[in-house]
Amino acid sequence: MVENVRELLKAHEGLKREVYLDIENSSFVPEEIVEAMLPYYNRRAYGNPTLTHKPGWEAFETIMENTQKIASFLGCKTLEEITFTPGETEANNLALMGAVLAMKGKGKKIVISEIEPISIIHVTEMLQKYGFSTTKVPVNEEGFIKLDKLKEAVDKETVLASFALANNEIGTIQPIEEAIKMVKDKNPEALFHTDASDAYGKINLNVKDLNVDLATISSYKILGPRGIGALYIKEGVNIEKILEGQIGTQKLWPGVENTPLIVGFAKASELAFKNFDENIRYMRRLRDKLLDGIMERVSDIRLNGPKGDKRAPDNLNISFLKCEGEALTIELSLNGVYVSSGSACTRRLLQPSHVLIAIGRRFEEAHGSILMKVTRYHKEEDINYVLEVIPKAVQRIRGITGSTGVER
């Protein structure tokens, strides 16, 4: 198997440029962030922060200082409101399972939307086995949740609502303040969680102003290292831990704190929030250049998600009709452009993205979808290169499709 992969990699030799746009699924970590982390592996603060020796106390100091940075960017009241987890998936699991466990006896209803991240959907499906029922609020064709349906869905039995602030696939920025108010008006006891992984560092976000109970953030989505995320838990909100083990500085997540990853996450946050407005404008400009350029050069395409201010500034999701997504990602890769497709092959069928189906895309439209995210590290020339490669790649794959495929 790995022999095959070596051959696949060999086929990429001699590329004149490489542009990585698959920030959704993993990211490169910029040099300045890696450098910030390195000393904490073996030069200082490598101890366990709960132990009584110098490297332990150094670790404690480092963790507190860096947690404080993230807490302030997020708008926390205290740094105890932050719990680090190994990532977005784990933070979402902690939020949902921890909340319903703590709310035992108060009700068994959960409300989410049709386009929540897979981890949220899977946890709610798992909780069904324990008697919880989940209502999925529908979204419109741009991915905005239907607030009237949300209002209908919440009642006295509702213990938890979870809506991502910005959708990870199509970038839709939800009217989260209104949603929170609506849920709390109907049931003040219900907890409100938001997966803010695609919002943190990319759109204005202040958990205190939002009055949200729980919020997930992720390190790699802002180009920090993988393997770390965090859950914000508002002071006074009680949730249960979902893993057992040695408790250290964090009450809700056992195990030894990973000091270098926390430093990397804080450094990535600092860089995202330094010149925040300028960063956002830059990402938006590159993204729009990419979108306009593709629209100009390629026919039969569809933009998935909204246009303008209500879309995360880095996100672009386009369906190329008559063009199968996996084939297109391979063709693009062979030309140095790295993206992902919304569909994933299972045993018999290509499974379309649940997000694209929820906004009303047909299966064959979803199968040709490509997700791209730009960063402040991308250059104008990178986008020019992508705009050179995409039309040729789409043309070649459509040449194979020929008259087969999309019939309308």
Partner: protein, 166 residues
């Protein structure tokens, strides 16, 4: 939804990059389609068959992944110059072997390619109004699988249409 690694082998990659016998054939004797774009998997075969029932030319078009493209392409190469009777004996396993093996979740691509081929052969005889004794009436495994996949696509799109109305 789960994602699995897809370590395509060099033969599949080569056929994906430089597919053989690609494109519509204007003077095809018979054309057959299998799969459905909703499944992300669809193949059209064009066969030029002579009076001795030998496949003189074969070509394909495909809407699908790299495995779909590679298996369709290899089938057109395998059957060129074959009698229809010999072409009928091709199994999806021999197609998978010919492309140097497929990841298990891509077996269905090889099955669909052979399903489309067998459909083409069946269609040829149906249009001619004859049934050779080697052509079994019961659908072959690959034809049945193709039908099943298409049925699945119909069910899914029906379910989607229902969902749209909510």
């Amino acid at each position: 939804m789960s994602r699995m690694p897809l370590p395509y082998n060099p033969k599949v990659l080569e056929l994906f990059r430089n597919p053989k016998n690609l494109g519509k054939m204007d003077d095809a004797t018979v054309t057959a389609v299998a799969g459905n774009p909703a499944c992300g998997d669809m193949i059209t075969f064009y066969l030029k068959i002579n009076e001795q029932e030998i496949i003189e030319k074969a070509s394909f078009e495909s809407y699908g992944c790299a495995a779909n493209i590679a298996t369709s392409s290899i089938v057109t190469e395998m059957i060129k110059g074959m009698t229809l009777e010999d072409a009928w004996k091709i199994s999806w396993k021999s197609v998978a072997e010919a492309v140097g093996g497929l990841p298990s979740i891509k077996f269905h691509c090889g099955i669909l390619a052979v399903g489309a081929l067998k459909r083409a052969i069946r269609k040829y005889y149906k249009e001619k109004g004859v049934t050779p004794n080697w052509l079994q009436e019961e659908l072959s495994f690959e034809e049945k699988q193709a039908l099943e996949e298409e049925e699945l696509a119909r069910v899914l799109s029906k379910r989607m249409k229902l969902a749209e109305g909510k």
